[in-house]
């Protein structure tokens, strides 16, 4: 022993072992007990004790090992770098602060949300790591932070405090909610007005800093923060430098040759080592403005050196805004910021501001300039506060504001928020910033009204939201009779304050000579806006009173028309259609006689012609005339969308409902209408989601409930539909429409007696009052009395019931479609053509008999936060999901949808459920202790967060399968009732370790990166090795290899391996859905020669075994539309998206499927959305193709440029450019691009798309023979949908060509073959299901 102690190495080893034991011993104790423990164990060795204590401290903090190993370099993007794990855990102290959450991390350190317990407020703390923490650096940091904290302005980030902990400096600032300009710009350039407003704010902040001699030196989009309430904040004055370094003996810290800043934004003089001056900041700001307006960087190069050289030697390309050259004054302004020599640049904020003012004052929208027109200033008029103590003045206050809205709306260049939006804020005027944000306006006009005797006192204030300043305010004392004069005066003053040009607006409506009439009118509008039967009736009376007093009062007639138009709608059940509608029409015509310039009466006429005259052409003419007269009248767009729905012009309907919503974003009825067009084109999921949001927002608004109910009904889920429809009935009053819906729902849910009772009630009512035949028909249909239902509809038709307008598209009437009597009705109403256009639901009956209840299984939380157990939590969830997907009665969100909820906190589960639009969520947690695993599971209702069921399971940690099985079975039982228990298939349980590995593999696979893919392969291989008969492991391997082959590593033998693994999986379990899916996926590839038929059969089989298999739906839908079965493909893709609303590739394929239907407008939006969410070349390309077909050449060119910005030789960009060149007749350029395409075949994932584009180019060049050859080749190589060839506008020159005709015939022949195959599969599934007795 003695000798050993003498050997230094041995001694060191012995000490290390002691250290190890002490460290582990102390760690096992609570922190408070460690001191005593160590004191006792190493009393004789204070150095050892100190070392253990330091180690314990290090244990609690984070360091380099908690982050992934550094990358080797390469084109990583700051914001794409995966977040390293939280280096300070929640709750950790940081100086006097307490960490709440890691907000972000980058090369320079991390930013935390933290609490200041002393002041009880939340702050942001930036911890600065990675620099050399020398004393010099610390002092420099401290000095700069102090400089920054000397600045105090609402556009500068407020610095509260600086400090350091363990030698690591940190800076404490106010906590901001919002995003950086960089993040904002990722969604596209800013509208001009917004960019200029932000520029003003940035200048305001900079002015203050420059005044104090501080230059920022590093302005860039990352350093400009947009708060949630619309304010811009300049961040990171940490790099700011005092201009006058001589102050207070501070030395200049900026040695020659030191560059601080970011290439691309930093001014040339800074790059050259010169000191930064205020003009340097203006250069950076100019670069930011350029980028914000154009969406392109002012100076860009492939490498930082190239960028550097661009800044030093090149002028940026001419500024473009919205695809058009920028207005010259603006271009000059930006150019003067970006001059290389600082002497020639704007020298100060004030100089720039002067030019900016001149530009904004001179900026007038050029009519027809479209996107290039600067955005109008925006204003909301809030309801005036009634301080008169007289409730009767309430409507007077509203009316005053409404009159102001009306007067101001006629000003060109001013966007005024619509009445029903602004008025939702009645009584909430205190939260101006919120109001402005929700209404998206820059200024707010508010006021109050007092009354003394017959005198009125009106206070008006105009507030600029950006800085909360009053732009103007005024007080008016007037006699009550003077109210119109007051209004005009106020409007004029507001206009003056806003410095807007008055234009030759159409003459304002004639004011009533009679003040009392005016009062009645205002009251009428007030009531009409409430949109319920009583309000409509009372409103009509008020308008009639106004008319009685002033028969020439056009607006009152218009109000009366609006009232009858709604009173005659059978949903309100007040007046029979054939009584109310003629009155509405007469009132509208009278209003127009009096004032032909009013829009509202035209809209009312359109509504009547549609619902009563069934004059579809006339109705459309009316709506269009109304839009012409006043494009800002939200009700016109709202009502027009109904007409378009009825005519089965779904995309236009969606567009109009969206337009109405943009004009009036907070009106409940306009919001509810967003749910309408999707319902009539059977996108029930969309309707349900919209309606659910509305119901959450405003539970007492009946309309939201009925859309929700109808959407559930459309999905076949009558159990869910019934309560919503009942809520509607309760809230809306016992109308016969509501009764009919409830009756139908009762019948569909099996309560035949209940339904018959409702029918009896309706029939009894019909004896006393007119009951629309449509309502009787609905219940009769539910009771399967088809003849009676048809007879009722025929009677409704005789009565010209408004509901018949929906005959072509009404999903509730689907059971009657195809009946000759129903067709005759369609003819009578004039909707036969529309019915043919409306998409019949062909495929839906085959696979899902009714919409099941929906559930999301969230990743199980590890209560101990054990490192390396993440896969276990995801795995438990994934396994449960997989099991639940076998249940026909339950729709379960796929694992990919729930991944992002892995790091939620306790109370987020219900919110997560809502985001995933499910009825219930499974929220589980687990703890691993020793060899035991304890799992707790709760099933929570999403609507109210109520726990529906919960359980706790203890099991051996290695018996994971048993635990998972138990969890899944229990959840299923809770969801589906006792039958759910039986429905679960019981596979043979594989060995625990193999299953664990399989789950790990699945988890890795879902993350979809190369490294994870490889790790997944590793896991699956080990799972397979542990249990070679484990079919799922083989299927997983097949999937992983296939991904490698298709997505990551085209070279190599991955495809062959995938095929082998797949074969093995299916040998072990021929019905394994995952196996069939992988098999189908592999068959539909160039390697397998695009075996469409085989793929369809496989994928169908996978779906038959597991109906909720989103990936299989997505893949099957894709294959189907590729072979020309567009309707069927659409249906499967919609299923995929319905099961998993955030399924990116499902949404993308759905858009492309619509594109091949010729529905370019419908495909454009989702493509643009996808491109915005993740600007991948493919999505940009798809959007560009849509634009091209829609004639938007400039837009297509812009998208091609964006693709080329990533990679100048990108084949997809060349394809677009070639098509554009050919379309404008520049044949030489088109040929050159065609050559490029061929030369860059590798730029295409699937070259057949390039072949198709080439064919289009040739067709445009009139090179028919080559075009047909290319098409044939493209089709042979898997290009989607031969049917598209016949309708593609770019191929019209081929029409009449014999070769083209032959190709089309051949493709059509093939399509028919696939159609037969699909029909056979459906028939097989049906007989199979019948044989199983489940249907």
């Amino acid at each position: 022993m003695e000798a050993a102690e003498d050997d230094p190495q041995q001694r060191q080893q012995a000490r290390w072992r002691r250290l190890d034991a002490l460290f582990e011993g102390a760690l096992a104790l609570p922190a408070t007990a460690r001191g005593a423990y160590l004191a006792e164990r190493c009393g004789d060795d204070p150095a050892l004790r100190a070392e253990v204590e330091e180690l314990l401290a290090c244990h609690g903090s984070s360091g380099v090992l908690d982050q992934p190993a550094p990358p080797l370099a390469g084109p990583t993007h700051a914001e794409e770098t995966p977040k390293p794990g939280a280096t300070l855990p929640p709750g950790a102290p940081l100086g006097p602060y307490q960490v709440v959450l890691l907000l972000g991390a980058g090369g320079m350190g991390e930013v935390y949300r933290a609490r200041d317990p002393r002041l009880g407020r939340e702050v942001a703390i930036k911890v600065i790591r990675g620099g050399d923490p020398s004393r010099e650096a610390l002092r420099r940091f401290d000095q700069e932070a102090r400089a920054a904290s000397a600045l105090n302005h609402s556009n500068l980030l407020v610095v509260y405090d600086v400090g350091s902990q363990d030698g690591v400096p940190y800076v404490v600032t106010e906590l901001l909610e919002g995003e950086t300009l960089r993040e904002r710009l990722r969604r596209g350039p800013l509208p001009l007005a917004e960019a200029l407003a932000l520029l003003r704010q940035a200048l305001a902040g900079l002015a203050v800093a420059h005044q104090k001699g501080i230059v920022h030196r590093d302005l860039k989009p990352e350093n400009l923060f947009l708060t949630a309430d619309g304010r811009l904040k300049i961040l990171d004055f940490g790099l700011a430098k005092r201009l006058d370094g001589a102050v207070a003996g501070e030395e200049s810290l900026t040695g020659a040759g030191t560059v601080v800043g970011t290439v691309g934004y930093t001014a040339p003089e800074q790059l050259g080592g010169q000191p930064a001056v205020p003009a340097s900041d203006l250069f950076s700001l100019g670069a930011v403005l350029y980028e914000a307006l154009s969406g392109r960087r002012a100076f860009a190069g492939a490498t930082s050196l190239e960028t550097l050289s661009a800044v030093l030697t090149e002028d940026p390309p001419p500024l473009r805004v919205g695809g058009e050259p920028a207005p010259p004054a603006l271009a000059t302004l930006v150019r003067r910021c970006l001059v290389r020599r600082p002497q020639e640049r704007y020298a100060s904020v004030a100089e720039l501001l002067a030019d900016l003012d001149a530009f904004t004052a001179g900026a007038t929208p050029v009519s027809g300039a479209g996107a290039a027109a600067p955005r109008a200033r925006t204003l909301a008029v809030l309801p005036f506060l009634n301080l008169s103590g007289d409730a009767d003045q309430e409507y007077f206050c509203e009316g005053l504001a409404e009159e102001l809205i009306h007067a101001l709306s006629r000003l060109e260049g001013l966007r005024v928020a619509a009445r029903s939006s602004s008025f939702r804020f009645k009584g909430q005027n205190d939260a101006l910033a919120r109001v402005a944000r929700e209404l998206r306006v820059e200024t707010v006009l508010e006021g109050s009204l007092r009354k003394a005797g017959e005198r009125l006192r009106i206070n008006v204030q105009l507030v600029d939201i950006a800085d909360g300043c009053h732009l103007w305010s005024e007080r008016y004392d007037r006699a009550q009779g003077d109210v119109f004069a007051v209004q005009e005066e106020i409007a004029a003053r507001v206009v003056e304050a806003l410095r807007l040009r008055l234009t030759a607006a159409s003459p304002g409506p004639r004011r009533p000579a009679n003040l009392e009439a005016y009062h009645h009118y205002l009251r009428g509008r007030h009531l009409w806006n409430k949109r319920h039967a009583g309000g409509l009736r009372e409103g009509a009376k008020a308008f009639e009173q106004a008319i009685e007093l002033d028969p020439g009062y056009a607006q009152a007639w218009a109000g009366l028309a609006d009232s009858y138009a709604l009173l005659g709608h059978s949903i309100f059940d007040v007046l029979p259609t054939n009584e109310a509608m003629p009155r509405a029409k007469a009132a509208a015509l009278r209003a127009l006689e009096l004032d032909p310039g009013l829009a509202a009466p035209h809209a009312a006429l359109g509504w009547v012609r549609m619902h009563y005259d069934w004059d579809w052409v006339g109705a459309e003419r009316d709506f269009q005339r109304a839009i012409e007269l006043d494009p800002r009248h939200a009700t016109t767009h709202h009502w027009y969308s109904f007409l378009l729905s009825v005519l089965a012009r779904a995309d236009e309907a969606i567009e109009q409902s969206r337009r109405a919503w943009e004009l009036d974003p907070l009106s409940l009825i306009v919001n509810a209408n967003v749910a309408q067009p999707p319902y009539y084109c059977r996108q029930f999921g969309t309707t349900a989601a919209t309606a659910r949001r509305l119901v959450e927002l405003e539970p007492t608004f009946p309309v939201g409930h009925y859309w929700l109910g109808l959407a559930h009904a459309g999905q076949g889920d009558w159990d869910q539909a019934l309560p919503s429809l009942r809520s509607f009935l309760d809230l809306f009053g016992a109308t016969t429409r509501g009764m009919a819906w409830v009756g139908l729902a009762l019948a569909r849910t099996g309560d035949v007696a209940g339904a018959a009772g409702v029918l009896g009630e309706l029939e009894a009512l019909a004896a006393r009052q007119p009951v629309p035949g449509y309502h009787l028909a609905l219940v009769q249909l539910g009771l399967d009395r088809r003849d009676a239902a048809l007879a009722s509809l025929e009677r409704a038709c005789d009565e010209r019931c408004d509901a018949l307008a929906y005959l072509a598209v009404d999903p509730l009437l689907d059971p009657l479609r195809g009946e000759p009597r129903f067709d005759r009705l369609l003819d009578r109403v004039g909707l036969r053509a529309a019915a043919a256009r409306a998409r019949p639901l062909t495929a839906s009956t085959a696979l899902t008999p009714s919409r099941p209840r929906s559930v999301a299984v969230l990743p199980f939380r590890d209560l101990l936060g054990d490192a390396g157990s993440e896969h276990l939590g995801l795995g438990l969830a994934d396994a449960t999901i997989t099991e639940l997907a076998h249940l026909r009665a339950v729709t379960v969100r796929p694992t990919s949808a729930i991944l992002r909820f892995a790091t939620r906190t306790d109370d987020d589960a219900v919110a997560a459920g809502r985001q995933l639009t499910v009825d219930s969520v499974v929220d589980g947690s687990f703890q691993r202790a020793g060899g035991r695993l304890r799992v707790t599971v709760q099933l929570l209702a999403t609507d109210d967060g109520a726990p529906l069921w919960s359980t706790k399971l203890d099991a051996a940690a290695d018996d994971l399968f048993a635990v998972q099985d138990e969890v899944a079975r229990n959840v299923a039982a809770a969801l589906a009732g006792p039958s759910g228990r039986r429905a679960l298939p019981r596979g043979q349980p594989p060995a625990g370790a193999a299953y664990d590995l399989y789950l790990q593999g699945r988890t890795r696979l879902l993350r979809d990166t190369l490294a994870d893919n490889v790790a997944a392969i590793n896991c699956f291989e080990r799972a397979r090795d542990a249990d070679p008969a484990f079919a799922l492991a083989w299927a997983g391997l097949a999937d992983a290899y296939a991904r490698l082959a298709f997505n990551f590593q085209p070279e190599g033998d991955w495809y062959a391996r995938a095929a082998a693994a797949c074969e093995e999986a299916l040998r072990l379990d021929p019905a394994l859905p995952e196996g069939r899916y992988a098999h189908g996926r592999l068959r539909w590839s160039p390697q397998a020669g695009w075996d469409h038929g085989g793929a369809i059969a496989d994928l169908y089989a996978a779906l038959a075994a597991r109906p909720g298999f989103a990936e299989a739906h997505q893949r099957l839908g894709t294959v189907l539309y590729h072979v020309g079965l567009i309707d069927e493909g659409t249906w499967h893709l919609e299923q995929a998206v319905a099961i998993s609303p955030s399924y990116h590739s499902g949404i993308g394929q759905l858009a492309f499927c619509r594109y091949h239907r010729g529905d370019f407008a419908a495909a454009l939006r989702p493509s643009l959305d996808a491109a915005r969410a993740m600007p991948a070349p493919w999505d940009l390309y798809q959007a560009a193709l849509c634009h091209l077909r829609l004639g938007g050449h400039a837009e297509a060119a812009a998208l091609a440029e964006r693709i080329a910005a990533e990679n100048s030789r990108h084949g997809l960009a060349a394809a677009i450019r070639g098509l554009l060149a050919a379309a404008r007749g520049d044949f030489a350029a088109a040929r050159e691009e065609a050559r490029q395409i061929v030369a860059n075949r590798e730029g295409f994932g699937h070259y057949h798309h390039a072949e198709y584009d080439l064919a289009c180019i040739r067709a445009l060049l009139a090179d028919t023979a080559t075009a047909v050859d290319e098409l044939a080749s493209a089709a042979h190589n898997g290009y989607p949908c031969g049917r598209f060839f016949a309708i593609d506008p770019l191929l019209t020159s081929l029409h009449g060509d014999a070769g083209f005709a032959a190709l089309l015939a051949q493709l059509e022949h093939q399509r028919e073959g696939y159609a037969r195959l699909y029909a056979e599969l459906q028939a097989g599934a049906r007989t199979g299901a019948l044989a199983n007795g489940t249907r």
Binding site: E24, G63, P70, P71, T76, T81, G255, V259, V260, N1018
Partner: protein, 195 residues
């Protein structure tokens, strides 16, 4: 393909069969492969992939495994070797970059916002390499553990397999390794500040 993988596979098989001589020849070859793999990926310039060292290791594994599936009775051993070599690749890479920086003569140059934090982390990496060498003298197994997890990107379970110990042991021993290294790194830095 460059022909080396064939030799490499043979050597790896010999090495995993216990042939010490093979190790001598093997290490430079695997090192070279890793370096090439990294360079190849950098050239490919695929913006969607960040070049994580663990991804390089895994790619190499796949490529080699593609040559000779059966040679890989002990997958963990491959990762053990690769992790060790990846450490060298990274450290060499950091040294080269550090030298290039110094030759430029500018300090604190943030030339490229697209490469956040490469500058400060190079220093970290070299310091870590040094500290890891010290730890290796005190406790070789813990040093290997760090190598496997940090440079090889192995999970806890994979690390346990490579070291032929239980995951619980890795989990327990990791704590001291981590704390010790962090303390060593912090103290090293503190020494330069003179505090």
């Amino acid at each position: 393909m460059d022909g080396t993988p064939e030799d490499l596979t043979a050597l790896l098989r010999a090495w995993s069969a216990g042939d010490r001589a093979a190790e001598e020849k093997l290490l430079p070859l695997v090192y070279e492969e890793l370096r090439k793999q990294a360079a190849r990926q950098l050239r490919r310039e695929r913006a969607e992939h960040t070049l994580r060292p663990t991804a390089v290791v895994h790619e190499l594994y796949l490529r080699l495994a593609g040559q000779h599936r059966t040679a890989w009775a002990n997958r963990a051993q491959f990762f053990a070797v690769a992790a060790q070599l990846m450490r060298r690749v990274l450290v060499d890479h950091a040294r080269e970059r550090g030298a290039a920086k110094r030759a430029g003569g500018w300090q604190r140059v943030v030339l490229d916002e697209d490469m956040p934090g490469t500058a400060p982390r190079e220093a970290d990496l070299l310091a870590l390499d040094e500290a890891l060498a010290e730890l290796g003298e005190l406790d070789p197994r813990r040093a290997r553990m760090v190598e496997l997890r940090y440079f090889g990107g192995l999970t806890l379970d994979e690390t346990a397999e490579a070291l032929a110990v239980s995951p619980a042991t890795v989990s327990r021993e990791w704590q001291l390794a981590r704390a010790w290294l962090h303390r060593r790194l912090a103290r090293g830095a503190a020494a330069t500040t003179g505090g």
